[in-house]
């Protein structure tokens, strides 16, 4: 009786070994996968009001989109397929924002999943001065998020992107803050 039970226990322990190893690995990996998903942009906030989205304590809308480089907006023509897209967003705070606007990420994406990151601040400001020499350049999301608007006041954010001409009609602007991820907003540019 006793050796029989002992043998059964021995076999049971041996067989449960791969199961336990897989479980230990899986639990650890799952924690990391969950954290990675939480940090990435995976949930799109859908809007109720046409063109206006509620995100991170403010209502967001697309203010102005400019496509430069084909001679229609300004006389500038860029070589080849290159186009400059200038995107302006307006955010009206309906809550106290506090620290919620941190680590802003803005990008343009098309229907195939390609992503364009905005131009860096120095280049963006240089281009702003070329386009509108008499006006101060509108700040980008990174700088604006350091001083978010107070309740019931609005702020304008501008970012510039270099995109190929064939993707210009399928672009949408994506924005997210670290504290609100995985939620993000996506507004089609309508070019």
């Amino acid at each position: 009786m006793a050796p029989d039970r002992e043998r059964k226990l021995w076999w049971l322990s041996l067989l449960s070994l791969p199961v336990l190893v897989a479980a230990a690995f899986g639990i650890n990996a799952w924690r990391n996968i969950e954290e990675y998903l939480r940090r990435s942009e995976s949930e799109i906030v859908t809007g109720t009001d046409a063109g206006s989205l509620d995100y991170a304590g403010a209502l967001w809308r697309l203010e102005k989109v400019r496509l430069i480089g084909d001679g229609r907006d300004t006389a500038t023509r860029f070589p080849g397929d290159m186009r400059l897209v200038v995107v302006r967003l307006v955010a009206t705070a309906h809550d106290d924002i506090g620290e919620r606007w941190n680590q802003c990420q803005v990008s343009l994406s098309d229907d195939t999943g390609r992503r364009w990151q905005p131009l860096d601040v120095t280049l963006s400001n240089d281009i702003s001065r070329d386009l509108e020499p008499k006006v101060d350049p509108v700040k980008g999301c990174g700088i604006t998020s350091l001083a978010p608007p107070k309740r019931n006041s609005a702020v304008m954010i501008e970012e510039k992107f270099v995109v190929p001409a064939d993707a210009a009609s399928k672009l949408a602007v994506r924005l997210s803050f670290a504290s609100s991820r995985p939620k993000m907003i996506s507004l089609p540019l309508g070019l």
């Binding site: 390609r114 364009w116 993707a167």
Partner: protein
């Protein structure tokens, strides 16, 4: 009989374990770059970016204009200037890691003495859908300029990122005395 069996099992498991230990890839390789091979002239494509090497030139002296001043750089070896066209497939990215593996297998990173030259690709960002052309400049001893392989990546020491290995052509590599680099390349 049992003892013989036991000894055989011990020896066998020692051999198996030793083989497993000797053939485990090191940590650096497991978390290292994802390599794609190719040759000069064809478009070598990885998942995130691709490159096509157009021309390779050698020169003893490089010259360019910096803020209106003429700058010259000479080398105890030779300058190797590689013209390339880069394309990004997924996202905006820079291509800052450029190394040439010389004939002896030594790794020559791109020369920081010539980083301020116009049209250097490691200072540009490549946007998806927009091919970007430019040059990479290296400083290599003369005897290493045979069987060169160009290694490109987003940054030096890529970890689980794409790395292109492109074999550069042997023939037709002409050496000049002096190469002027203008705004649109050499």
């Amino acid at each position: 009989m049992r003892i013989v069996f036991l000894i055989i099992m011990i020896v066998l498991s020692t051999v198996v374990l030793a083989t497993l230990q000797a053939t485990t890839p090191p940590y650096a390789m497991l978390t290292g770059p994802i390599m794609t091979d190719g040759r000069q002239g064809e478009t070598v494509a990885a998942t995130t970016f691709s490159a096509q090497i157009k021309q390779v030139q050698k020169a003893k002296t490089l010259a360019w204009d910096q803020f209106g001043r003429a700058v010259e750089r000479q080398s105890s070896g030779t300058w190797v200037i590689v013209s390339a066209e880069l394309q990004a497939m997924r996202e905006t990215m820079p291509v800052r890691g450029a190394t040439i593996i010389g004939m002896s297998g030594r790794l020559y990173h791109q020369s920081q003495r010539a980083q301020a030259a116009p049209n250097v690709l490691s200072a540009k960002t490549v946007q998806p859908g927009l091919p970007t052309t430019g040059i990479f400049i290296f400083e290599i001893p003369e005897e290493e300029t045979r069987n060169m392989v160009l290694v490109l990546s987003r940054q030096y020491g890529p970890q689980l990122e794409d790395e292109l290995h492109i074999t550069l052509e042997q023939n037709g590599l002409v050496s000049r005395g002096r190469l002027e680099i203008g705004k649109n390349g050499p």
